[in-house]
């Protein structure tokens, strides 16, 4: 339980800093910490394959892409214009107060729904599969073989799309 509280606190705090850090690069580093915290939660849930993939793909690959995007996009100043901290931004309604109020309301709704349902939800996890990699592979290649192929086509299309979008604009001709 202590490990869960610690991981949850680190994850939510760094997620909060993603929303509030004044510098874009700091927000990106806190995003990496959020991903690592979520990987820790997966470890806690004994989903070790997903935890490893989370670290490799999110904390590794997605973070690299985000940092490259920050470096390559010509930001005039890397600081958010309204970087006067959270309290200062609350004065502007559409970028401070309404989002915060809406999100707090949404969380309250989540909490009410979950706490009402809590007595019916299980309190202890199922016995963990002996080999979680084989467990996921069985699901992906048997039951969900078709969605798996669709996902691979989606990734290929996204990769080609990203290359076509960002290719150098100097030498025009296709």
């Amino acid at each position: 339980m202590a490990a869960f509280i610690l991981l949850g606190a680190v994850t939510v705090y760094s997620g909060w800093r993603v929303a509030t850090a004044p510098l874009v690069t700091h927000a990106a580093l806190f995003l990496a910490l959020t991903f690592a915290g979520v990987a820790g939660v997966f470890f806690l849930l004994q989903a070790d394959f997903l935890a490893a993939v989370q670290l490799l793909l999110y904390a590794g690959a997605v973070m690299t892409v985000v940092i490259f995007a920050i470096m390559l996009s010509e930001m005039k100043d890397i600081e958010e214009p309204r970087g006067r901290g959270l309290l200062g931004s609350l004065r502007s309604p559409f970028l401070g107060f309404f989002p915060l109020a809406g999100v707090v309301l949404l969380f309250a709704v989540f909490l009410v729904v979950y706490l009402r349902a809590a007595p019916a939800l299980p309190g202890t996890p199922l016995p963990a599969p002996a080999d979680s990699t084989a467990f996921i592979a069985g699901a992906l290649f048997k039951t969900y073989a078709f969605p798996f192929e669709v996902a691979s086509v989606l990734l290929l299309a996204a990769m080609i799309g990203a290359i076509i979008l960002t290719r150098a604009e100097g030498g025009r001709g296709r």
Binding site: L44, L45, Y58, A61, A69, S73, E74, E80, V103, P125
Partner: protein
Amino acid sequence: MIAAQGIPLVDFLVLGALLFCVGLFAALRRSNAIMILMGIEVMLNAVNINLVAFSRYLPQGADRGQAFAVFVLAVAAAEAAVGLALVIIVSRRRGAIEIEEISDMKG
């Protein structure tokens, strides 16, 4: 021993909801396109926490939850690639990635 033994399912759901709300707040509050994409990534991660927690606690969802978490990962990777490519090309053409300054679609 690190395991979820003494933790009820609802705790993971509350953590997922909290992280989702924080990510939504990041996406709504920021005016910088890269920051908005980062908020969306946090929201997708929160969804994954829920999926994996369901897969470990409910017998009906045993393999389903983790398989769908893998699909969410794939979609998030595709979204990051295309979204950030768009950010780079918009910043190259207009010199700005503040979404208020990108209000007309024809470039």
